[in-house]
Every structure is written in structure tokens, then in C-alpha cells.
């Protein structure tokens, strides 16, 4: 369960000026839910995802995941929290373009220093699940947009996280590939993952397997 309690996030524009990205947000995401955060660009959706993933810290308020406050975690603990709990699918995939598919997928596991057998097992599982095994030795920069996204999803799932966060996942995909992605979300739900998606793509609205759609507007939730 993820709870945001009175969360406000302000970014410094310069020494004097700040901009409020989200203000006094209170919300709870239940385990196994798929939630869509919808709203225009700059509404604060990505900031909410970033706070849940401990990629940034709230200016005030608290983010609680499974009874543990993560908003004030020291940097190293925040990294461990992400590694153990979060799979992040970025809008621009954020893959490392000049290494192979399998190297990209394995990157989150490198610091764990697992044995080769375990590593191969995890790799094989996600590559098969997201149908990218045939491209495992291809450099990521030589993949199509859809393939890159499959790699990004495989990487997000390789450490078997319980929370998947997707920021504008279909922004760079055509409709066919977007629908394919939506099908993959259905599979994630079947696996019992909590999935939070920030998007303004109408394809995500009114889907039967989506538990909640939450409108974000000017840094506030319209519940």
C-alpha cells in the first residue's frame, strides 16, 4: 500500500523563485491496483510518480510504502528501496543506447552481484515474457520504438518489483504498439503488481482492468 500524506513538492527555478509541482496531496494506492493519473502536461503527474519512486523528496508531507516512510530516506536507502520495490518505465525509456538488450535488462541487478545462474534465470524469464529474447544481443539503439519499450518493461520487471511506475509510456508509440502495451499492463495486473501510470493518452481511459483514474490538475488531485 502506498500513501501520500499532505505531500507538497516545490522546485527551485533559481535562487529566489520556486514552482509548486504538487500541493497538499493525500491519496492511497492499494496493493494490486492499476491506477491511471491523467492530466495535461505540467499538471504534476510525473512529480507524483517521482515521489513514489523516491527519485525526489517532497518539500513537505510524507510518502509511506507498506508502513515505511520513504520521503526522508537517505540517498543510498532510497536506491535500495527502488531496487527492491520499484520498476520504472520512463517516457523516453531511458535505456543505455549503445549496449545490448540483455545488458540493459540486467543493469538493475549488477550491484546485487548474483550468481550467473540466477541472473540468467531472471533474464530469460523477462525476455521471454516480453518477447524480446530474439533481440538479446542487439544494441538498443538499433531497435524500433516498440522493441525499446519492451526492453524498458523487461528491465523494470527483472528484479520482480511489486510496484510498477510508468510515465507517459505510450507517448512515443503508435496506436498499435500502445494497445500492445495496454495488453502487457493486463498481464502485470494478473501478476498482482501495483501499477501507477501517468498519461494523457485517451487509450488508457475507461479500460475494464483499470481500477481507478485520477485527474491531476495544477498540482492537485481531482478526486
Amino acid at each position: 500500500m502506498i500513501t501520500l500524506k499532505n505531500v507538497t513538492k516545490r522546485y527551485k527555478l533559481n535562487k529566489v523563485d520556486t514552482i509548486t509541482a504538487v500541493e497538499d496531496i493525500n491519496i492511497t494506492f492499494n496493493e494490486g491496483e492499476i491506477i491511471v493519473l491523467k492530466g495535461a502536461s505540467g499538471s504534476g503527474k510525473s512529480t507524483i510518480l517521482s515521489l513514489i519512486a523516491a527519485l525526489s523528496k517532497p518539500t513537505s508531507g510524507e510518502v509511506i510504502v507498506d508502513t515505511k516512510g520513504i520521503s526522508k530516506l537517505p540517498d543510498n536507502f532510497a536506491s535500495i528501496y527502488r531496487r527492491d520495490n520499484i520498476g520504472f518505465i520512463f517516457q523516453k525509456y531511458n535505456l543505455i543506447p549503445n549496449i545490448s538488450v540483455q545488458e540493459n535488462i540486467l543493469t538493475p541487478l549488477i550491484p546485487l552481484n548474483l550468481n550467473a545462474e540466477e541472473l540468467q534465470k531472471k533474464l530469460h524469464f523477462v525476455m521471454e515474457m516480453y518477447k524480446i529474447e530474439h533481440k538479446k544481443d542487439t544494441l538498443v539503439r538499433n531497435l524500433s520504438g516498440g522493441e525499446q519499450q519492451r526492453v524498458a518493461i523487461a528491465r523494470a520487471n527483472v528484479n520482480n518489483p511489486k510496484i510498477i511506475i510508468a510515465d507517459e509510456p505510450t507517448a512515443n508509440l503508435d496506436e498499435k504498439l500502445s494497445l500492445h502495451f495496454i495488453e502487457m499492463l493486463r498481464e502485470l495486473k494478473a501478476l498482482g503488481k501495483t501499477v501507477i501510470i501517468a498519461t494523457h493518452d485517451p487509450l488508457f481511459f475507461d479500460l475494464d482492468f483499470i481500477d481507478r483514474e485520477i485527474e491531476v490538475h495544477n498540482g492537485k488531485l481531482l478526486l
Binding site: S56, D75, F88, I96, T107, N113
Partner: protein
């Protein structure tokens, strides 16, 4: 957290180097060249220092010279007897020596005359004298001299041209060894009689007189006494010679310092460039790694491996090349900057001197500095919010 070496991280670092192979190749080449230059200069300096110290140790305690119009001139042999009367003097030997210009090879040789029954002032000469046949017109030559004479087809003898234009033929009896190359390389040893003939120096004159004292602490006192007794002479102690040799060497040391500063300056420009920040692509990569669960220490470890591999490889290559350049190839071009503090040109071999301190110094002047130049900006980026870096 496992304490064993994370080979996946090491592999990632190697792949990371290969990903930017052209940039890293350029950096490796520059670092290698700088390490090579720095090591070469240190190796040459070490070799010369070694030679110089050995040469200085074999210097006479006191040299008495005559001068005329401010220039070194022949001294009357009779002054030897006057010097021997000074208390504290244990021995005094008149020396006959000088330089001979061999125009064919454009080099100067140092000619030293010895007497069969005379006490020698140098160990090298003491070892050599018993081998010499004083009944023949023969000479022993240093290795460098032998090479030059061979190349001019003087394999068995050499014709010295005397000041009056006539020729004195002297046979080469052998090549002599010495503790130091500097001392012996350009030297020719023959009987005083032959040398006097070549230099047209009469029996009553010598080039200078070397003096040995019984008590080493009294060298300055004895020198002063000689000066008082023979005010027209110039008296030089081994300490004064040491200073003048060292001054000459330090002058070369200045040239070395200039090269050293230039290379260090260049190195620091590169380091400054690296330390002033990572490229946007590199920053983004650090942000991605943070976002997918890498800790700051994981990022820094990876950057450490990356920079260590590059800098240690460059260090190893640079030092190995310097070893080959200095000790196998005898440092062509660069050694002329250091050697040549006399006008002599016969070949001079840089002796192999292994000094671990030099290797450690070059290591600390290259590897940790480069690592720091990579680690510091990476640490700055890695400690920012990953969100901020990715955006």
C-alpha cells in the same frame, strides 16, 4: 552487500570504456605519452645521478692548477716538492692530461698520462697501470673511444696530430673498464712520456697536481696552506668540484624541470576539463543508473573501475615504453637535453637504475589524479536527485 569483487560491475565498466572507445583511446594515448615523458625524464635523471655520484666519489681531494690570462695553464713540476713539504699532505702527484679534438668524428677525447711506478690517484688507473707496457707506444681506450675509432677504421692504432703538425702513431693495446661510464667513456690512457710528446709538454711541466691529505677533515685547511704557499696557483677542493658538477647538473635539471612543468600543466588541463563536469550523456547515464536502483557507491565503484583501468593501463604502458626508450634505445633526442655537460660527444650508455620511488612517484602523479578527475564530477551528479538528472 557482498564484499567479494563484483565482476559484473567490472564488466560493465569495461563495456562502458569500449562504448566510448574513440574518446577513451584518445585519453589513454595522451595519458600514456605524459607518463612516458615523465618516466623517461626521471629514468634519465636517475641514471645520470648514479653516474655523477660515482664520478664525484672518485674525484681527487685537492687539485692545484696554474693559470695564465685567466685560463688553465701548465704547472711547473717543481711545485710538487713544495706541496709535499706542507704538513697534512700525504701524497702529491703531477698529472699530465688534456683534451684531443678528433675532427673526423667531431669529438673530444680526454687523454690521461700515467707513469709505471707512480702512485695513481684513481682506482681505475691503479687497476690499469700494471697491464700497460711502458716500453711501447701504446694506449688503453674507453669503450666510447674504441667505437669511434673503429668507425673511422682506426682499429689497431691511432695517429695523433701534434701541435707542430707532425703525427704520433700510438697502438691500441686494449679497452678498459671503469665503475662509471661518464668517467671512462671518452678517456684514453697512455704513458706520460707519449702524452708529453703529443701535447708538446716538457719534462718540467705538468697539467696540474693532485694532492691527497691524511685527514679528510683537513682538506680545506691543507688547501688554504697550499694557497698561502703558492699564491699564483688555483687550488680546488673536491667539495668545490662537487658543487660545480652539481651546478652543471642542476642547470640541466632546470631544463628537465621546464619539460616536467609543461607535461604536468598539460595533464592538469585535461584533468581540469574532466573535473569540470560530465557530459550531458554521462550525467544522464548516472541518473538512469540511480533511478533503476544503483546506489551512489555503486556508481562510484563503476567509475573507479573505469578510470583505474584507463589510467593504470596508460601508466603501465607509459612506464614500459620509458624503460625501453631509456635503457634499450638509450633515450634518443631526450638524453641530449640532459647529457653533454662537457663538450664531449662519445657515446655514453645510461646505466640501468631501478628506483621503486620513481615508479611510485609517477604512479601518484598520474593514476590517482585521473581517477579523482572522473570520480569527483560523477559523485557530484550521483548525489543529486535522480529525477533532476534525468529531466
Amino acid at each position: 552487500m557482498s564484499s567479494k569483487i563484483n565482476f559484473y560491475l567490472l564488466e560493465f565498466a569495461i563495456n562502458s570504456i569500449l562504448r566510448e572507445r574513440y574518446k577513451n583511446l584518445f585519453i589513454t594515448i595522451v595519458l600514456t605519452l605524459l607518463t612516458f615523458l615523465l618516466s623517461s625524464m626521471f629514468f634519465i635523471t636517475n641514471s645520470i645521478k648514479y653516474e655523477l655520484n660515482a664520478t664525484l666519489d672518485s674525484l681527487p681531494q685537492i687539485i692545484v692548477q696554474n693559470s695564465k690570462a685567466g685560463r688553465h695553464y701548465d704547472i711547473e713540476s717543481s711545485k710538487l716538492d713544495e706541496i709535499l713539504t706542507i704538513s697534512g699532505v700525504s701524497e702529491a702527484v703531477s698529472r699530465v692530461w688534456g683534451y684531443y679534438y678528433f675532427a673526423n668524428a667531431d669529438v673530444y677525447f680526454t687523454l690521461i698520462g700515467v707513469d709505471e711506478f707512480e702512485e695513481q690517484y684513481k682506482e681505475t688507473l691503479s687497476n690499469l697501470t700494471p697491464k700497460m707496457d711502458f716500453t711501447q707506444d701504446s694506449m688503453y681506450v674507453g669503450k666510447g673511444v674504441k667505437e669511434i675509432l673503429n668507425s673511422s677504421y682506426y682499429k689497431e692504432y691511432f695517429n695523433f696530430i701534434k701541435p707542430d703538425g707532425s703525427v704520433k702513431k700510438v697502438n691500441i693495446a686494449g679497452v678498459f673498464d671503469s665503475n662509471t661510464e661518464l668517467e671512462s667513456n671518452d678517456v684514453i690512457v697512455m704513458s706520460k712520456e707519449n702524452l708529453r710528446e703529443i701535447f708538446e709538454l716538457d719534462e718540467s711541466s705538468a697539467t696540474d697536481i693532485v694532492v691527497k691529505v691524511s685527514n679528510l677533515n683537513e682538506i680545506d685547511t691543507v688547501a688554504l696552506k697550499i694557497k698561502q704557499k703558492l699564491p699564483e696557483t688555483r687550488v680546488i677542493t673536491n667539495e668545490e668540484l662537487r658543487v660545480s658538477y652539481e651546478n652543471l647538473f642542476n642547470y640541466k635539471g632546470g631544463v628537465f624541470l621546464a619539460l616536467f612543468i609543461v607535461s604536468i600543466f598539460t595533464f592538469f588541463i585535461i584533468i581540469y576539463d574532466r573535473a569540470s563536469g560530465l557530459s550531458s550523456e554521462a550525467k544522464r547515464e548516472v541518473g538512469i543508473l540511480k533511478a533503476i536502483g544503483w546506489r551512489v557507491e555503486d556508481v562510484l565503484k563503476e567509475k573507479f573501475y573505469e578510470s583505474f583501468i584507463i589510467s593504470f593501463f596508460a601508466y603501465f604502458l607509459g612506464v614500459s615504453m620509458a624503460f625501453a626508450f631509456v635503457y634499450l634505445l638509450q633515450a634518443p633526442l631526450l638524453r641530449d637535453v640532459f647529457i653533454g655537460y662537457t663538450d664531449l660527444k662519445p657515446s655514453f650508455e645510461l646505466p640501468f637504475v631501478f628506483d621503486i620511488q620513481t615508479l611510485v612517484l609517477v604512479f601518484f602523479l598520474s593514476v590517482p589524479i585521473y581517477i579523482a578527475a572522473i570520480i569527483i564530477p560523477s559523485w557530484r551528479v550521483a548525489t543529486l536527485d535522480a529525477d533532476e538528472v534525468i529531466r
